[in-house]
Amino acid sequence: MLTRRNVLLAGGALALAPALSRARGLVADETYLAVVASALEAAKKAGASYADLRIHRRREESVSVRDDHLEAIDDAERFGVGVRVIVDGAWGFASSNLVQPKEAARLAQVACALAKANASVMTKRVELAPNPAHVDVWQTPLIKDPFKIPVSDKAELLLAVAERLRAVKGISFCHAWVSTRLEWKLFASSEGALIEQSQTRLGPGYVATAVHPTSGEFASRAWDGQALQAGWEHLETSHFLEDAPRVAEDTLEKLHAASVTPGKKDLILDASNLWLTVHESVGHPTELDRALGYEANMAGTSFATPDTLGTMYASPLVTLYADKTTPGGLATVGYDDDGVRTGRWNLVERGKFVGYQTTREQAAWLGEKASRGCSYAMDHASVPFQRMPNVSLAPGEKDLSTADLIKATDDGVYVVGTGSWSIDHQRYNFQFTGQTFFEVKQGKITRPLKDVGYQSNTPAFWKSCDLLGGPSTWRLGSAFDDGKGEPMQSNPVSHGCPSARFRGVSVINTGAKQGA
């Protein structure tokens, strides 16, 4: 019987075996059990008050085509173990690509030595919020394992997409790709947690480019589909191939579209655009480490400091929630890298700022009793820290369509897809572009536009939201590689959004005239 303390106290592979048999479907590889026991035992001997380790495998297979031919096939795999300890109230971490009991013990000793060196110059001690020692298994629900689809089939599909793009006269270049990622990890802690998880993510995409034959201007248009945590069936149901002619036509339309006249306008943002704005203006500002200054050196801080909890972040129409259980979300998982069971909670409720993303270390900083389960490390060699869960905008209560939003707008721009993005280091001032843009006059789309960017300030922008699309417009958008931290770590994350309207937003012209 596994208890919170006997992994550390008893050590040894045999002590862990009953726990494994209790968890449904866990891979009972005795090598790994010996690695776990060896690390935890060595950590205890070296003075750790807490220790955990992750045996972590990452695999990424990518296939890409350029114009009418294959570009590359690559298959990268990383495997290793990372050991994290607390000694004298300070963290220490060490990792290696050798997943062996002796090496794991060495890592525990190195991590403890690092922690001791740091503890000697620290005044504040790390304290972890209580957490049940879970023993469990979790995996991405999927039908077809994408790693079992031969690379030749993937290349064939991409070449078919490229052919459809190039079949439209005027398309000069195209690029198409599909990336398949696996993250498998075994987490164990000195408190008795033992969790095996496997996540499979699929990232397809393509972009067409048209060069104007006389002016030399060029325009590109990317497919609006998204990466998901899913099997190959995602590609079979996402209109990946079928959308290609439309994307090609859009590219040509964009090349010849009218350049936007800058000014304050109403924006109707399609879910395919708004997800990235949610990511930057809500996802990042509500990271507690950032709000308290722990990311000040690189990613920055946040305007959403704890003293602003309870104030209005957005219009009362707006509810934004964090959810590590969203089906298909890239950040969806059973347990975080602190071993905390994941869930859903509100960050902004009917416009009011009500919550943060936290880890076990951070919960006490807010006076909360439990972690929200947002700890993540991208691989065995990375230190777990607070990373963004899926953060989504709840749809409106009435099931308005995007067409309904357009119909209700007198002077606006409808923006589809994501383009360039940028936001300041406290998450106030942002600027986004998109893939395609349409002028809206008196409730109708009148013509396509180009060179559109929108610039705003986060609280002002969210307070200007006055119409939300309904559940039928809600869909996930995804960032496959969201960066944060030093050393920089990549976190896959998704954001669900309906279409939404924002009043009086500054629209700029991003063309050669450099819209001010």
Partner: protein
Amino acid sequence: MWTELQALTLGKSLLGLVKKADPKAEAQVTVWQTHRAHTRFARSEITTAGENDDLSVSLSVQRGLRSASAQANQTDPRALEHLVARTLGNARLAPELPETMPVLGPVKVTRNQLHDPAMAKLDAKARAEGIVAALGPSKERDLLTAGFLEVYDGLVARLSSEGLSVSAPFTDSNFSVTARTKDGTGSGWNALSTRRRAELDFEKVGRLAAQKAIASARPKTIEPGRYTVVLEPAAVGDLFEFFAQSLDRRSVDEGRSCFVGKLGQRVINERLTLRSNPQTTPMLPFDGEGLPLAPRTWVNRGVLESLAVSRYWAQHKQLAPTGGYDGYEVDPGDATRDQLLQGVKRGVLITRLWYTNLVDPQSLLITGLTRDGTFLIEDGAVTSPVRNFRLNQSVLEALSKVDAVSADRESPGASAWKLPALRTHEFLLASQSDAI
């Protein structure tokens, strides 16, 4: 740490496995072996520290026009056999790739000195002591600090079935400090990247960050618009990063580059020369394929002189391949930092840019924000801190309007970049940012 010989031996054994499995296949192997140590601090305390030992083995195989590549970090015999099997398996399944080039054979590389034993010996205790020294100036001024130190000790080896065999050991480090006033109105930053321990001056980085934090406190608001700006080296680095990424011959030939029709023409101000030279900028002397990197001038006194040419594009267009560079230096000018300010009636001193992103590749228009110390220049001197701005600015226009270049250069972001400070005009600070 491994020796170069160990890495080359591993590479040879992998090539041997490929030959055994498929005598007709050509193959290339890259071995990276690194020890990486880091210490992170925030709110004036060390928060995390870690050490990582890792190995990466990359294998590319090709059978005629069919090819595939794979990477792994396990080196036991079973793992290496698996790596060979899955790479060859994918290559056999792959459609033909007409851009496939034969793997490189023997090349002659001029070695450079990228490894400093003293840097390799910077242990946890020395790192913690360095950080304590860096935090001293902020402690004296009651500032909050955050920052990061990362130290590398590693080596890379590239080999091929056709006789390529090159390798290089290296060390590297990045150290940065952000200091913020406790009232939240001031923020300063400084950073240094170097391969040599003797150049890693912890206290100086910390002191400069603290000075900027104090100087930037309680900024005043000035209106957005076009300004004469003095850009410190960190901000100059952002501009040249976008510039260097655009130096691609194929994109130019395909008509989708800001440099279409510009080779041999003046593209930026004559005061600016951009070059790469592994003997003076501390970069690997060979590229990702193993091709030796010769000294190269990209822009000579404002004139676009070279574009990067891949091996495939070189063959396709009957050009010489250049190799791929990741180190650049902008030639120094003759101005002191004070002289950059002199003559500016009303302008802005920008010390650092943040979240720069490409908006329009045709004009090389970027957006981004100022950060961690932005100051008003009046009548040739800094007079007060100002609030931050969003910029929307063509890199080419900004670099064309440069009229002064500093004599001193820094490496704030990467050790293989050397950058001066610059003065330029009509720089578009498009809107205000409330961020501090």
